[in-house]
């Protein structure tokens, strides 16, 4: 083991086919890829040959943390899970899912930076990690159980301090739209069935160690306080949603919804969230109530408190108490989740009897969380539900199901917005039961293929938000113009990048955002107002590159890209500036590796390049521009019929998008004609071996 801090030092390897368990030295093999997705892509490149399928024993599942996991760095609770993605259509390619909770920290305390699973067990098993003691144990008693029962059963064995990441019945049944979940509500979508294919029900971890910080204790403490001072609310929104005495600005649409009179009404002793002055470090956790943001003010009386991940003061999971669901649906009155998980149930319905943001919508959320977070169903960033609505109201479901199966669903309940309908639908998706259950569990691309529907048509519907390769948009052109578009083109699932949208949604007036943008990306033209988009500018390509590298950096360090980056702050005295060096300062202090911001960005670029190389190798073509970076038709259309870049529209111009791609590829050092990285670029970032292997397959631009 080297003298570096931050890393635990070992990577745990488990071969479920042979039962072999061994370790590797993290620094020796993976330091140049940091951790998280960096380790994931490296393992996938080195060990998983092209042509491998997600459920083949040769596929790997890489649960990887980064050097900041288990430290007190704010928002450092993320685990990246990399594998071949079963919902990636028409061929599975590499992608990653990300979960918060306490799994990352606990794994580090047990002594491991990552767990790499390969092979396939001959019977259901779970993996027990208790410091140096690692065992593959029989799981027949929990196979067939939901995530909660599995979590409790393993916790009974390992103790109350255990963190359990488990799959539900959906993963066991090889439903591609399935997830893995730890701490009851922290999930990573898309990979449940890959665990299921390996017969791996769960990983339980307890750890008694600690993580050494290489820097001086006082320097670390001082920097953590500085980082905390830059924090805003959930998604780094730095302006409160209502006027506050300390605030120069307010924006009714931010997630900073604490205010006098907004109370956690279901707490044992109700708590007023108060004015939350940004200088008060002890009230950061009160700033956001995610459930109230999505579901309206009616949620405050049902709020118990916020919950969240290791070392994160932003408690983005809201714990809700809704007693009426116990009486009506026989489920527990308390549930918790955030964003897509919170809205899982309500998102299936077009309307509710008491209108939007009423009690029925809240109850649908509770039912959805109760079912989906136990069965382990993934929402594909809401596309599952949007698909379902379209398929039903377009009459496709009726057409594709036999009369008997169609009649087995209570469609009148569905149309009325009765949450009880979810009890009919979700268990059948998890069990692959019937045509509807099976099709909805496939993911959009494979569902369209099964039902002989056109992907092109799917891509024309703006409200549907389909993007490409079986996945939906994730903060794309409709809210961040060309920058969002470029980011959404890059991945093999929804992009999961928030670097750009957390900036444009931070709540500051556009004039201030432009001022900060000029400092960060070279020109104020990098950002536009929503619905007031302007033609492509080179600074937008630079912002897109920065956003992608920050995402990969966060995913590799265990920082949360949902909460960062921290380039804007709520501090008026700083001109609302944040600090673009937060990541590198944390990294240097934690590890002792003397990389500055530019040095660490170069590592992030290496990691992102490796993802591109994996995609090129997986697709067997270097023609990324036309075959991978495809744009859905809705991006170019607007129902108003007005030309692009007219105020009040959000569509883009085709020629302008071509220019955007040219400028972006150029910024990345990629070939403009193909969109593939050049040999020179691979070598510049230390990936000469990767370039050589690609050249052997004629996958480097000439």
């Amino acid at each position: 083991m080297s003298g570096y801090g931050g890393w635990a030092g070992k990577v745990l390897r488990v071969d479920l086919s042979t039962g072999r368990i061994w370790t590797e030295d993290t620094i020796e093999r993976y330091k140049e890829f940091l951790g998280g997705t960096g380790i994931g892509y490296k393992v996938m490149w080195d060990e998983v040959p092209p042509g491998t399928k997600p459920y083949d024993p040769e596929n790997r599942i890489v649960f990887a943390t980064g050097p900041l996991a288990g430290t007190s760095a704010p928002s450092s609770g993320r685990t990246a899970i990399t594998t071949l993605w079963p919902t990636c259509w028409p061929i599975p390619l590499v992608a990653s899912g990300h979960m918060g909770g306490h799994f990352a920290a606990k794994l580090k305390y047990a002594g491991y930076d990552a767990v790499i699973i390969q092979g396939k067990a001959d019977r259901p098993v779970w993996l027990m990690i208790a410091d140096q003691k690692v065992e593959i144990l029989d799981a027949h008693e929990i196979w067939g159980q939901g995530i909660r029962a599995a979590t409790y059963a393993i916790s009974e064995i390992m103790g109350r301090d255990a963190v359990v990441a488990a799959i539900g019945q959906a993963g066991e049944n090889l439903v591609p739209m399935s997830n893995v979940m730890n701490d009851v509500s922290h999930s990573a979508g898309g990979i449940g069935s890959v665990m299921g294919s390996k017969k791996l029900k769960a990983i339980g971890v307890v750890g008694s160690g600690s993580i050494r910080i290489a820097g001086k204790k006082e320097d670390w403490g001082k920097f953590i306080k500085y980082h905390l001072s830059l924090l805003g609310a959930s998604n780094q929104q730095v302006v409160p949603s209502s006027p506050q005495p300390w605030a120069e600005y307010y924006d009714p649409t931010t997630r900073w919804n604490a205010s006098r009179g907004h109370r956690w009404g279901a707490a044992a002793h109700p708590v007023d969230t108060g004015i939350c002055d940004p200088h008060d470090m002890n009230r950061i956790a009160y700033r956001s109530n995610t459930a109230a943001f999505f579901l309206g003010d009616g949620v405050w009386p049902h709020t118990v408190r916020g919950n969240g991940c290791s070392s994160c003061p932003i408690r983005c999971h809201t714990i809700l108490k809704v007693p009426s669901v116990s009486a009506k649906y026989g489920i527990p009155a308390v549930g918790q989740n955030t964003c897509g998980g919170l809205k899982f149930g309500r998102a299936f319905f077009k309307k509710f009897p008491d209108g939007p943001r009423g009690m029925t919508e809240l109850e649908a959320c509770m039912v959805g969380m109760h079912l989906a977070d136990d069965l382990g169903i993934w929402c594909n960033y809401g596309l599952l539900q949007r698909d379902f609505i379209k398929l039903y109201y377009d009459g496709v479901i009726k057409k594709k199901l036999g009369a008997r199966e169609f009649a087995s669903y209570s469609w009148s309940k569905y149309e009325k917005g009765d949450p009880a309908f979810l009890f009919e639908l979700l268990p059948r998706i998890a069990a692959k039961e019937g045509e509807l259950g099976t099709a909805m569990g496939l993911g959009t691309g494979y569902m369209l293929e099964r039902w002989n529907l056109s992907e092109e048509e799917w891509g024309k519907d703006k409200a549907l938000g389909y993007w490409k390769m079986g996945h939906g948009k994730h903060h794309s052109s409709e809210e961040t113009g060309q920058c969002g578009l470029l980011i959404n083109l890059m991945y093999n699932r929804d992009s999961q990048c928030h670097s750009h949208s957390n900036f444009t949604r931070n709540g500051l007036p556009l004039t201030l955002q432009k001022k900060l943008a000029a400092e960060l990306w070279g020109a104020p033209e990098a950002v536009d107002g929503v619905g007031d988009y302007k033609p492509m500018h080179w600074s937008k390509a630079r912002m897109a590159k920065w956003s992608l590298l920050r995402k990969e950096l966060h995913d590799s360090l265990s920082l949360c890209n949902w909460m960062g980056p921290w380039v804007a702050s709520p501090l008026r005295e700083r001109g609302y500036r944040g600090d673009d060096s937060v990541e590198s300062m944390l990294y240097r202090l934690a590890t002792g590796d003397d990389k500055d911001r530019e040095g660490l960005d170069a590592v992030a670029e290496r990691i992102f390049l490796l993802h591109r190389a994996l995609t090129i190798r997986g697709m067997g073509t270097r023609e990324m521009r036309i075959r991978h970076d495809k744009i859905p038709e809705w991006v170019f259309s607007d129902k108003s019929g007005k030309p692009p870049y007219t105020k009040g529209t959000s569509h883009l111009d085709r020629n302008d998008v071509h220019l955007a791609l040219d400028l972006f590829y150029e910024e990345m050092g990629w070939d403009k004609a193909t969109g593939a990285p050049t040999d020179r670029t691979y070598r510049k970032f230390g990936l000469g071996g990767v370039a050589d292997r690609l050249a052997e397959r004629d996958l480097i631009p000439t």
Binding site: S242, P243, Q244, P245, W246, A247, E248, Y249, Y250, D251, P252, T253, S259, R260, G261, H262, I275, F294, D297, C339, G340, K343, G355, P356, G382, R386, G465, K473, H474, H475, E478, E479, S501, R505, P509, L510, G529, V530, G531, D532, S640, K642, K647, G648, T649, S650
Partner: protein
């Protein structure tokens, strides 16, 4: 930079002492009220000074001079004036933006709503959801909001305030001086519906 208050404008030693004591007490009252996120009016301050026998002026002297010197002499104290009373706040406890909202609150629901919509449109180029006016710190009743909207449509001086309704039935107000109708409608739809589909 503001000038120190000293005893400018007060006559003689007694006048100076009385003026200083009154200014000190008035400044404390403003700060105290601001710490509770509220403004204090000039008349309230005078009532308080009179009650504590700190009347700052002799008969016939100009009360405006006292308040002008008070504000000029304290870096953190500021006054707001409109058609009615003068109101005061301390920027140690409250931003100018917040103080203006409190000020418009004193002027009644109609003006509070209109000025808030205008300010949001000029600063943010965004429409404002109607329901913020029933939340803190606006705290209007639903009826007050609806009555104000009805009055606005019939009053020429509020002709710049318009409304748009989203597909989720959300009502948004915007100022036509700063936002075109189509842009306002698109933004309202994004804020009320679109952004929640992009969590």
């Amino acid at each position: 930079m503001k000038t120190p208050i000293a005893s400018k404008g007060f006559c003689g030693d007694e006048g100076t002492r009385r003026g200083d004591a009154a200014a000190k007490r008035a400044a404390a009252a403003i700060r105290e009220r601001s710490a509770n996120s509220q403004l204090i009016s000039g008349s309230e301050i005078l009532d308080l000074l009179n009650a504590e026998h700190l009347t700052p002026l002799d008969a016939g002297q100009d009360i405006h001079g006292f308040f002008t010197q008070l504000v000029d002499g304290h870096e953190d104290l500021h006054g707001l004036s409109g058609t009615g009373s003068l109101w005061y706040y301390s920027s140690d406890h409250m931003t100018e933006a917040y103080a203006k909202i409190m000020f418009h609150q004193q002027e009644g629901p109609l003006r509070l709503i209109a000025e808030t919509v205008r300010q949001n449109a000029s600063t943010y180029r965004k429409p404002v959801p109607l329901d913020i006016f029933t939340r803190p710190p606006f705290n209007l009743t639903h009826d007050q909001v609806l009555r104000s909207l009805a009055t606005m449509t019939e009053t020429e001086s509020y002709g710049d305030i318009a409304r748009t309704t989203t597909s989720a039935s959300g009502i948004y107000l915007y100022c036509k001086t700063h936002l075109e109708a189509d842009h306002a409608a698109m933004l309202a739809e994004w804020l009320d519906v679109g952004q929640f589909e992009n969590p």
